[in-house]
Symmetry: C2
Subunit: 207 residues, 2 copies
Amino acid sequence: MKKTTRIQVENRERVLDAALHVFSLHGFRGSTVEQIATASGMSKANVLYYFRRKQDIYVAVLEETLKLWLDPLESLNPDGDPLEELWHYAQAKLRMSRNAPSASKLFANEILSGAPMIKSYLENELRELVQTKCTIIQRWIDQGLLTPINPLHLIFFIWSTTQHYADFMPQISALLEEGQGKGDEDKLFADAETTLKQLLIKGLSPA
Amino acid sequence: MKKTTRIQVENRERVLDAALHVFSLHGFRGSTVEQIATASGMSKANVLYYFRRKQDIYVAVLEETLKLWLDPLESLNPDGDPLEELWHYAQAKLRMSRNAPSASKLFANEILSGAPMIKSYLENELRELVQTKCTIIQRWIDQGLLTPINPLHLIFFIWSTTQHYADFMPQISALLEEGQGKGDEDKLFADAETTLKQLLIKGLSPA
DNA sequence: GTCTATACAATGATAGAC
DNA sequence: GTCTATCATTGTATAGAC
């Protein structure tokens, strides 16, 4: 019978923190155990004691991050005001892009390379969740509370616009001028929020 | 004096084609010369005869793709109808996501890893181009032809929503139901186009 | 239980054969 | 000019020391 010691919990946590950072930058294949070891302040061999293979670290990080990242969609309330519910969801996603950009980049990398590890998750759990939410959105439309629109593509719209502010931040930074949010993250995300809100609310209001 | 032979031109082209495919999936660090060699039907050593280093292949592919990918923005015509111009641009980008997804994914990977190779391009050429276009958009707004909106974030909006259909295709496929475009690329992109047009036109029309 | 020395596999790059 | 045999390096993973 194996016992889980405190040092074990701590060190696994250190590895996972470092791994999230490394994997989010270079994806699974582009990252090395050595990099994770350096980032966590441990020896490469020691890292591989706590996780036998590089892939085990990757899967652990993915699973840890998955729930957090896709959680807000759950909270879409069928009984709330449609425009408000959708905007709250988009807002929550945008804030996650700011506060947990590595999580977004981790998934972006995984999906760019064909989603080999989370394919079954996407096709099952996530798909069911998204279907449920599409049904809710469709009902809103049928009730005349929302302009007719394809619910699934509306969700893609929210995902893409919000995650952009995590995944493409180096490009965004390069394009910003002084006074436009350069070096001022608060302003940058405030502007993003305003713009998205405008397009979403105006674009979705019923005729 | 070096002479450029026909076999040289052909083989370099074969390498670049294969490299675009490989790099777009796994990024620079995650890709190996061996993979590029296999994909191009050449030996690894032979590939490295035509491009001395892996990095040289990568830079060549990036440069070749860069112009193509960012070109449509140039065509934004200040004298055209604002809504039509912006929609045509978004439409062009969406079609590129469909026809040249590897180009989109190549840049996504590059930017995800911090844009080490194209940083200076982003900060100079692209930045100037984007500034010019933002000025045009701002003028439209001042003339009352467009609802007041942050021009730069509007461009981010167009980029993110359209590129999503290249970069995140594995996720999109996993979420599609029968009859929603699964296995029917025409329908999928038609729906995407309709949805985007709707949000863009409705969201941007002046009050 | 914790960690390291070391084996083994691959990758990037080159010197030299054709 | 074209291409291959070979090498140094770095990567993953494990057997075994503490």
